[in-house]
């Protein structure tokens, strides 16, 4: 009887430990995906911030490097396999350089 109880206890502990390890592994994967999603979204938001401020201030050019691509009113950023988009108030396109459609300030 005593050994049976001990075996049941060990089995319960092993099962609980197994579940815990599996859950932690699963959560770790989820965290990585969530972290990539958030980083990609923040990157695209950063670009949207810059492009929107170029539009609102009728700026001529922006020389720094951007971690995103722009197509019409959508700005995309990719981290690993995850792509996140942000929208801008005007239109822009990115190739070798970023081109933003600004409103003419001096006419």
């Amino acid at each position: 009887m005593n050994s049976l109880e001990a075996i049941i206890a060990i089995l319960a502990l092993t099962a609980s430990l197994g579940i815990l390890i599996e859950t932690v592994n699963l959560q770790q994967e989820n965290f990585q995906i969530a972290s990539d999603k958030i980083t990609a979204k923040i990157d695209s938001l950063n670009c949207a911030f810059i492009i929107d401020s170029i539009i609102s201030n009728s700026a001529k050019e922006y020389k720094n490097e951007l971690n995103c691509t722009a197509n019409k009113n959508i700005v995309s950023s990719k981290i690993g396999e995850i792509t996140k988009n942000s929208l801008i108030i005007g239109e822009a396109s990115s190739g070798a350089t970023l081109s933003v459609n600004t409103y003419e300030h001096y006419k």
Binding site: N2, I19, S56, N73, I89, E104, K107
Partner: protein
């Protein structure tokens, strides 16, 4: 025979004592360990909720950003298609847009609804500082509980006014 029985009884008593201690110990340990594991699991689930709330915060930042830059564009640009993105007056002599100097008629007649993804501009409120007169230009009838207001100080037809742009998320 009696002696053997006595010894047997003594041994049994000894083992019963040991058995009881062992059973109690293993069950107690298991229960406490399982409770500890459940606590850790709850903590892990709580962490994943934090990530979700972080995503919601980012959406709020995006809404605020849109509101800020639409209001900014309105008081710094001139846009003949939509006054919401540029309602400034134009200085013919200097051949340049006069920032923070808005044209009331343009705002009133040429402001068109804007929808950027899930975001839309609900209304523009112009409050003239001296007279306290308030003018609301409704651009969308859609209802939303998630809205943000951005206020900008500017001249409207050379009168001091506060421009308030209300941007919402569907």
């Amino acid at each position: 025979m009696n002696t053997i029985n006595k010894i047997n009884i003594q041994i049994k008593k000894k083992f019963i004592h040991l058995n009881q201690k062992g059973i109690i110990f293993s069950i107690d340990a298991t229960i406490s360990f399982v409770i500890a594991l459940i606590s850790i699991l709850i903590f892990v689930l709580y962490l994943s909720n934090i990530v979700l709330s972080e995503e919601r915060n980012i959406e709020q930042i995006e809404l605020d950003q849109k509101a800020i830059f639409i209001a900014d564009s309105m008081v710094k640009n001139q846009n003949s298609d939509n006054a919401l993105l540029g309602a400034c007056n134009y200085d013919i002599d200097k051949k340049r847009v006069i920032t923070n100097n808005l044209n009331y008629t343009q705002i009133k007649t040429n402001s068109k609804p804007i929808t950027i993804g899930n975001f839309f501009v609900k209304n523009i409120v112009i409050t003239f500082v001296n007279t306290n007169q308030k003018e609301t230009i409704i651009l969308s009838e859609k209802n939303s509980n998630n809205c943000t207001n951005v206020k900008r100080f500017a001249l409207v037809d050379n009168f001091k006014a506060i421009i308030e742009v209300k941007t919402c998320k569907i």
